[in-house]
Symmetry: C2
Amino acid sequence: MTILIVALGGNALIRFGEEGTTEEQFRNLRVPISQLAELSKDFSLIITHGNGPQVGMLLMQQEATSEVSKRPLQVLVAETQGQIGYMIESTLDEELMRIGLDEERLFITVLTYVKVDPQDPAFHNPTKPIGPAYDEPKPGYVQTAKGWRRVVPSPKPKKIYQWREIKRLMELGGWIVIACGGGGIPVIKEGKRLSGVEAVIDKDLASSKLGEQVGADILLIATDVEKVALHYGKPNQRFLERVSISEAKKYLNEGHFPPGSMGPKVEAVINFLEKGGKRAIITSIEKIKDALEEKAGTHFYVK
Amino acid sequence: MTILIVALGGNALIRFGEEGTTEEQFRNLRVPISQLAELSKDFSLIITHGNGPQVGMLLMQQEATSEVSKRPLQVLVAETQGQIGYMIESTLDEELMRIGLDEERLFITVLTYVKVDPQDPAFHNPTKPIGPAYDEPKPGYVQTAKGWRRVVPSPKPKKIYQWREIKRLMELGGWIVIACGGGGIPVIKEGKRLSGVEAVIDKDLASSKLGEQVGADILLIATDVEKVALHYGKPNQRFLERVSISEAKKYLNEGHFPPGSMGPKVEAVINFLEKGGKRAIITSIEKIKDALEEKAGTHFYVK
């Protein structure tokens, strides 16, 4: 069966202007997960997700008291995999019940750690905004489009350690896997030692790497716009429907896709298609199912 | 292959008198996990674990600030499954590398939610101490042997939802599964709705229930004493080596095993053996391997 990876963006969990309560996140998840439950009829499904706001909230909470010892960022990432994995899985369980598939499907959240290179230049140049945005600067925060936010290093994913387990589950058929939460827990391997590092991996690049390692057919990145645009937000804005790898590279080099936003998504798509993927799609959370039926989204193809 | 469930007690992660830093927890885990890596040669292994101090720390941190919306207890339990699951899995990975088995084994942390009965009397009688102990009372805290601690309801586990996935992995052979962290995320099922509830399930009872559902052969509960004792801590204290189900029930009814401590462990053992388990062992974290070779521990058998 065709292996489909769906990477859920932040708005699958927290919508613009929301506080990010558990109730809001469960409610928002209904939109993508109801579509994914249906899609499990036609695809072997891997669901990945981000964790920016959630890991930022855990950081703020642990900084608010000295009564409890502080955990390093990679452990907080692991916590968000539990937190968000549970919310996705429980919602998926309900949506599968709704369409009578809960007994047929097996589904599992796989804690995922990801190898990064200790020499990755990202460690000297933190770029990944996490947590809420403030009107005023704080130490260690930088100014972003949304306001002042904490930024941490975002090294490239070199290897998803759990690829063997996930590939095996895909081969069995009928399994839905939730993996690579928050881009995965970043670790460095030195000899026979695995050491977590304080960083957050881009979840789209991690999803692309996982797709390469397990031999996925389609990568769908679900975000807050239905299609990718050239000249985004300008009078000559133009939405893209079908894009070849070479066109995607050209547009990326021309600076159409900003870093920390559409840039890494298009980069993830290019990597995926260059390493064996057949199709890649960028679309909105609401249009996942329509996009797979080619009725929405920007479609990338190998040429 | 024989299916062995090992339930790791709190001292596998945090030793008496420690603050509970990430470094301490990784170091402490080396003791049980090095044994479990070796045991994976002879057993299909399921590892379960508690989360009392860890979930208590998350509660304290989220109560320390009003800047971030508070998550219900069941979501914090899910977070500890991520946190502790990552620490166990990464340590296991290293220990398997050490003995050259990392390529042969597949291992996975399974987020686990557990059905509880909304009518469980535990909801009207919170008994489970979580978090650190204080010298002074606080609102919502009760006095325990270790000091004043927060207590929450501890309903009985009725069904481990992920039993199908875990059973399937055991059937495949060569998989090591980490599951039922902190006793599992407690949920109530009403029609086609799953609702998390604010409670902490006893991890030994959850492990016993999982054993029953997946058809495990052996349940080993690893704690801070090498053997179970009658008249514990008194001049006529006597350690037990072999105990039948009927003897275990008699001792339990006579009040030898206090609630919140050895009581639920012996109850878990009795349930397991009555529902198809072949052997059950209670021993210390240090003696897991010795106990399986019958050189240590209290051994329970069906009669």
